[in-house]
Symmetry: C2
């Protein structure tokens, strides 16, 4: 496909650079109809995919290049704009509250959280694009530096510099050019607030993710049982455990036990724990991984026979969530 | 309409604030499916309208609140990222080149440019939301401080703090709730580059606006003759003269004479020269004005019997352009 055939360039980033979608288009030799930068904090990448879907499904465009990029010192790295957090502007504080609550309410253990990190780092070891390719053990997670109680260094993802891109095509265009196209079949999104205090009335789950998942399942005409492979927002290990529950893979409170069984292949690229978290790029990397899996192009980390995949992305303690379901015929 | 019925909140701004669409949603008591901030420099507002159109026309949303806001000291105010401009990072330098070329090539006069400013300030005098409500004369423009040759202070718009918002509804939703809905009937957009040097090979027009206008006219099944009222990107008076030509209101080179005749009602709200230029808000203000005109809600500045309106917006010397056509039944 020639750059001249690309109708839209959407750039996802929390950076403060001006006119950056047009700069990227120029550097790539693309003269798109539409260039736009989108930001929505950690959820930027999936929000950009939704915007691209809208431009194409509405008939305005036939193709969209969706690019995410972030530098390690992104202005999105602290949540200082949220006055309801007081001095607790770093994301680890909300993750700590969620982890403490899950342990207290459901008996989830530190070892179960550690197992999430171990699994994702194992997956990352098979991903040449991952930031952390060295495998780790539960003992190593447990012995890593304690940041808060109960979160340790290896329960936490790391901000990093990174980029990712996908090409989204109309159904007609993809059927002509791609042998086995992967389709966006379901989209759900929900924003409950920007302030964390407004979404903490029920700490036993992420309300936004539950609403978004329902909408995405409905649109895709799928249920949690249909999901073969999923990318989950594991900025902290507890978040993956909560995602299992929010997405309906297991009943509420059973997430800690689910990681021990692992009936769904999750975070096969290594997730955020394994790949690092370049904010605006993360959501697009998630979509790229599920696309690779469903295309059979995931190399050493290929999940055999997968037909339906899901992307789960959050911003700022789950104040907003996006769920995208992908599928092959 | 209740805030709870709004499916998307799109925020248009060049500001560096994080998660700002979600902050606006929370402050307004809206829990939208989708919240996103869009930036595309001066063209941000119209780009946000296009994104909202995509979300609705694709079926993902039924309604979108599109909000633009900018502070006077916005980081979008200089074009320092464009290395091809050298030290000439302020917008007035490209406007000066366009003005000099138009005078040399087509015999456009300083007085004709001044007449654009006089007309738009006259219109602004009838707009309670305009920044500059005092009428001016051609003599006053000619005698105002010379910034470059041939541009004088009153040929130039002013950055300012400002905001605007529109509510975009699906056809079904608007038919139930709005007595005389105004429809988006045509959309055209084109980005040729971010760097000015890449679009200056033909200074006799704005290539992006010409392409975008053709696409918008085609989609709306309209011609330039059908346009009753238009908001044009008059960041500098010369830009409105060029817009007449780029949009096909007159032949190339005849824009200077068109302002003397004024067959189309242009910049009835006062344009950017009269209202000021809060970057991310401008495109939305333009759409709001055309909507008010077509609804018959424009008060003292109402254009009688108008049925079809056009919005023309540019970024960074015309490196990108958006044209939106609106209409009533």
């Amino acid at each position: 496909m020639s750059p001249t055939e690309i109708d839209a360039v959407i750039f996802s980033s929390c950076s403060s650079d001006q006119y950056s979608a047009s700069i990227i288009a120029e550097m790539l030799g693309i003269k798109p109809k539409i260039a736009q930068r989108i930001d929505n904090l950690c959820n930027s990448g999936t929000t950009a995919v939704i915007s691209g879907y809208g431009l194409i499904a509405s008939g305005l465009c036939k193709s969209a290049l969706i690019v995410g990029a972030e530098s390690r010192n992104s202005p999105g790295r602290t949540l200082g704009w949220d006055v309801t957090r007081g001095s607790f502007a770093l994301p680890i504080y909300w993750a700590t509250m969620y982890a403490r609550n899950h342990m207290r309410t459901y008996g989830t253990t530190e070892e179960q959280m550690a197992m999430v990190a171990v699994k994702n780092r194992k997956n990352a070891s098979k991903n040449p694009n991952a930031l952390y390719r060295k495998r780790i053990t539960v003992d190593e997670v447990m012995a890593s530096k304690r940041i808060t109680y109960p979160l340790k260094l290896l329960d936490c993802s790391s901000l990093c510099t990174g980029a990712s891109a996908i090409l989204l095509l109309s159904e007609v265009m993809s059927s002509r050019r791609v042998e086995n196209p992967v389709y966006v079949t379901g989209i759900g999104a929900q924003t409950n607030s920007a302030s964390l205090s407004k979404v903490m009335s029920d700490m036993n789950g992420t309300g936004t993710a539950k609403i978004a998942a329902k909408d995405a399942y409905d649109m895709a005409k799928k249920t949690p049982k249909d999901i073969d492979v999923a990318e989950l927002h594991d900025a902290f290990s507890i978040m993956e455990i909560m995602a299992y529950e929010d997405l309906g893979f297991v009943d509420r409170g059973m997430g800690g036990r689910f990681v021990e069984k692992g009936m769904v292949a999750t975070n096969t690229r290594g997730g955020i724990l394994g790949c690092g978290h370049p904010l605006g790029a993360t959501g697009i990397s998630q979509v790229a991984e599920i696309t690779a899996q469903l295309s059979g192009d995931a190399g050493r980390r290929q999940v055999k026979g997968c037909k339906t995949g899901l992307v789960h992305n959050l911003s700022a303690g789950g104040t907003s969530a996006t769920i995208i379901i992908l599928g092959v015929d």
